[in-house]
């Protein structure tokens, strides 16, 4: 097992290299330049030229790539936008995004699995049909639109702040209050981020469950005289959950993408927004580094899903070679 993981990790390296090269080329080929993003009549062209030089933008692209790589590992990679070390910049925002995404994942699985199981065990009932409808709506609804609606709703109905990570118009709070305040601010954005996942995975869970229910061992369980609950929640559920595990790997890119919108709308100081702003301002070092980190996360997510699959399914073994 350890060997397998190690081998998979080694295989990731060329993939990662390819991703960074392609990203680098694409970003640099995109029109625009990190300098002179503002149309400021007081700036003379000489100064723009000097700044290009300061940022190594006058060097050939492959030299710039090597410089980026070198600085990424040896330090000295600074954002074009605010002169901050890129890794520090990302590190500051990473916790916010991680919290948001972890909570979304909890919401996704916390709601999708019970919903899917319920739909499957009450197939074609009114609630199942409503669930189907809700899932289609959930999958197809634009996230930002839903976000606006929910924000407006929350504010009009309760008059409570919902944007950002915490309340501002407050005096000193106890630890308890601070925690609850944080949770409150997490609720809407993580829900918006999770909506698509809940809708999709609950459907997936439903069909997985329905498929498992057809299996011979479910018939055996019934023939044993087990109660329906035992049949569904012990025998069927365990097996139906197996394919869901692999989805965790696929979930990561979706969440990274979704973060951009959610973080912007909810004023959430995370990576998604940073990535978006960096692309707009052509902050090459930041964009590249975020891309690389995302790629690493996706690759690790896939690996984790595979490993997890082996852990939960006793039938899976990985070849030694």
């Amino acid at each position: 097992m350890r060997k397998y993981v190690l081998k998979r990790l080694l295989q990731c390296i060329p993939t990662l290299f390819g991703i960074t090269v392609i990203s680098f080329v694409v970003i640099h080929l995109a029109p625009g330049s990190p300098i002179g993003m503002q149309l400021n009549p007081k700036v003379s062209p000489r100064i723009v030229e000097q700044m290009r030089e300061n940022y190594d933008l006058d060097k050939p692209m492959h030299v710039q790539y090597v410089l980026w790589l070198k600085r990424l590992f040896k330090g000295g990679l600074y954002s074009f936008k605010d002169g901050k070390p890129v890794l520090q910049k990302i590190g500051e925002r990473l916790p916010a995004t991680v919290v948001l995404n972890v909570v979304s994942v909890i919401l996704i699985f916390g709601f999708a699995i019970p919903l899917g199981v319920f739909s499957a065990t009450h197939r074609y009932s009114l609630l199942d049909n409503m669930g189907t409808l809700a899932a289609y709506v959930g999958i197809s609804i634009p996230g930002f639109w839903l976000a606006y609606i929910l924000i407006l709703g929350a504010v009009k109905m309760f008059g409570v702040p919902v944007l950002g990570m915490r309340s501002f118009a407050v005096a000193e709070l106890s630890f308890w209050q601070v925690s609850l305040d944080r949770i409150w601010h997490l609720a809407l954005p993580s829900f918006i981020l999770a909506v698509g996942g809940i809708a999709g995975i609950s459907r997936y869970m439903r069909s997985s469950m329905l498929e498992v229910i057809q299996q011979d061992y479910i018939r055996t369980a019934r023939a044993k005289g087990l109660r329906e609950d035992e049949v569904y929640y012990k025998h069927a559920l365990r097996n139906a959950l197996l394919p869901i595990v692999t989805i965790i790997g696929f979930l990561i890119p979706g969440l990274i993408g979704g973060s951009v919108i959610v973080e912007t709308v909810f004023a959430w100081p995370g990576i998604g927004r940073l990535a978006y702003q960096s692309v707009l301002s052509r902050d090459y070092p930041t964009v590249m580094t975020i891309m690389t980190i995302s790629a690493v996360l996706v690759l690790l997510g896939n690996l984790a899903a595979d490993v997890l699959y082996a852990v939960v399914d006793p039938r899976i073994r990985y070849p030694k070679r």
Partner: protein, 548 residues
């Protein structure tokens, strides 16, 4: 089954926590803290006045740092860190600054002339990634005459250079020997201003606290928080819930916010204007009559009504109408399609084939009108212009490009027919880089405007320090540009900041404190920020200024 229970408990638990957090969140709201929360679209980049070029950073830097000079509420230059200054004209003009004594940096070290020269040197350093260097390129030398006195010598007369000394002065003792581009200072600034930097959480907030030793006295507010709300349309939501106290709003939100008893909505003409620029190298726009006709054919009042909900005034030239260099004699082009058609006919454009589009020598009057995407106002202008011009037989095809592409692929290489853009200006009227013919190649004269008289006047205006003489020069420039119409000057929009009514201004008069509402002045709302205050409920003044 255990598992079934778990499946039910997890969502139940999540919902429970949510309800608990809601009530807690509701309870803890407290609107009477002595702080100002300002909503800002973007995060600051450099909290260092040398490096910053975005407004988000500028707003913070203005409170943390002081320049030698500043604009007062009526936009007159007055001393800030300089207690007095004197300009001596001539071929190589000289400015002598006398500095305030006893001003302390936030870390307690005294501010001296060394700091000013250090700031200047850092700006001039080629390795420094600053756009401010342009302002100081004509400075020949900065010489320290004493601990609190220094002299600046220019290579040639350059009156716009004066306001450049409003640049925030940075402390030499903290930055000497550092790489200023990446120094930690840029995230933890130490200035001389009314507020001290306390905390910056990226993309979320910047917290400043009152500087107890401020040379004009401690601000009444305890702290100021800049909060980032990237979706401007949602800052209204945060105003309503008390999440922020101050924010700029869109024109369409004006009426709604005005009706809200908790807020005061202010209006102020912005320092800038929106225009349609014509590529004068394009044969289509070479003729002055054609450009005048295009302006006549645009109902600018209608555009202002439609895109700004009436919150703006039609522009007559390159200057906002509330400034001293604006020429009130210049009359706006009245909307007149007839006049436009007549002018076009004089220029040889007629609809000879009857297809509804004017033509000349077999070529139809058709061009591409570009602007940047992501700006709904400009997009709407493009559509309105297209419609209004179509009435006189001119076909404009709107196109939108992402900002960076727009600049680098179309504007800078002059690869366009006509564009919708806006200029944000400084208080000084100098428009050299926009209108002077020498700025066609690398400057901002991307419409390739050439006029010998304007060239001469622009140079003259830069060399003249006297306000009255400059006024005459810029009035003339205004006249010429209005006549020639290299742009169709569309409008000067109004900025609409919203401020919670809980803030009041405190004036110290002898031994008495006088309270008054916060007023909008020419230079804006924040010029007397250090006098703002949130009365506490127990203080007795809360009745008068109570917040519902």
């Amino acid at each position: 089954m255990k598992l079934k229970l778990v499946l039910l408990l997890i969502p139940g638990f999540i919902i429970l926590i949510l309800v608990a957090s809601f009530f807690s969140s509701r309870k803890s709201l407290d609107k009477n803290i002595n702080q100002l929360v300002i909503g800002s679209i973007g995060d600051a980049s450099y909290l260092n006045p040398i490096l910053s070029q975005d407004t988000a950073s500028g707003d913070v830097n203005n409170l943390v740092f002081n320049g030698l000079l500043k604009y007062d509420k009526d936009l007159n230059l007055v001393g800030d860190l300089a207690s007095s200054w004197k300009v001596t004209g001539g071929k190589e003009p000289v400015i002598v600054f006398n500095l305030r004594k006893g001003v302390k940096w936030h870390d307690g070290v005294e501010f001296t002339a060394e700091d000013v020269r250090f700031t200047f040197e850092r700006v001039m350093d080629k390795k420094t990634n600053t756009v401010r260097r342009s302002d100081f390129e004509l400075v020949k030398e900065v010489r320290i005459l004493g601990r609190y006195k220094l002299r600046v010598r220019y290579r040639e007369p350059f009156s716009p250079g004066l306001e450049s000394w409003g640049i925030g002065i940075v402390p030499k003792h903290l930055l000497a020997g550092e790489d200023i581009n990446t120094a930690a200072f840029n995230r933890h600034p130490v200035g001389t201003g009314p507020f001290r930097f306390k905390e910056w959480v990226s993309d979320e907030k910047i917290i400043l606290v009152a500087n107890d030793d401020y040379f004009e006295g401690r601000p009444y507010l305890d702290r100021i928080i800049f909060r980032i709300i990237p979706e401007t349309s949602l800052s209204e939501i945060e105003l309503l819930t008390g999440g922020i106290d101050y924010a700029g709003i869109y024109a369409h939100q004006y009426e709604r916010m005005k009706a809200n008893p908790d807020f005061r909505v202010y209006k102020r003409p912005s320092l800038g204007y929106t225009y349609i620029g014509y590529n004068l190298e394009n044969p289509l726009f070479k003729d002055k009559k054609v450009r005048q006709a295009l302006t006549y054919a645009l109902a600018r009042e209608e555009i202002v009504d439609y895109v700004l909900y009436g919150h703006g005034v039609a522009a007559t030239g390159p200057f906002p109408n509330h400034m001293w260099y604006y020429n009130p004699q210049v009359m706006p082009y009245a909307y007149s399609p007839e006049k436009a058609r007549q002018l076009l006919a004089e220029a040889g454009w007629t609809d000879s084939n009857g297809d509804g589009i004017l033509d000349k020598e077999g070529k139809p009057f058709r061009f591409i009108l570009i602007t940047n995407s992501g700006n709904d106002v400009r997009r709407d202008i493009a559509v309105l212009a297209q419609r209004q011009w179509s009435k006189i037989g001119v076909e404009a095809i709107p196109r939108l490009y992402e900002w960076s592409t727009f600049l680098n692929s179309y504007i800078n290489p002059k690869n366009f027919d006509a564009c919708i853009l806006g200029w944000s200006l400084s208080v000084d009227p100098d428009g050299y880089s926009i209108w002077h013919s020498s700025q066609i190649k690398d400057g901002f004269n991307f419409v390739s405007y050439r006029n010998e008289e304007v060239d001469r006047l622009l140079v003259l205006g830069r060399r003249e320090y006297g306000k009255e003489k400059r006024r005459a020069i810029y009035h003339r420039i205004h006249e010429i540009l209005a006549e020639e119409q290299p742009y169709t000057f569309l409008y000067v929009a109004e900025a609409m900041p919203v401020l919670s009514k809980k803030f009041i201004a405190v004036e110290q008069l002898d031994d008495k404190k006088i309270y008054r509402p916060i007023k909008m002045e020419k230079s804006g709302l924040m010029y007397d920020l250090i006098k703002w205050y949130v009365p506490q409920e127990s203080s007795g003044i809360s009745d008068q200024w109570s917040v519902r």
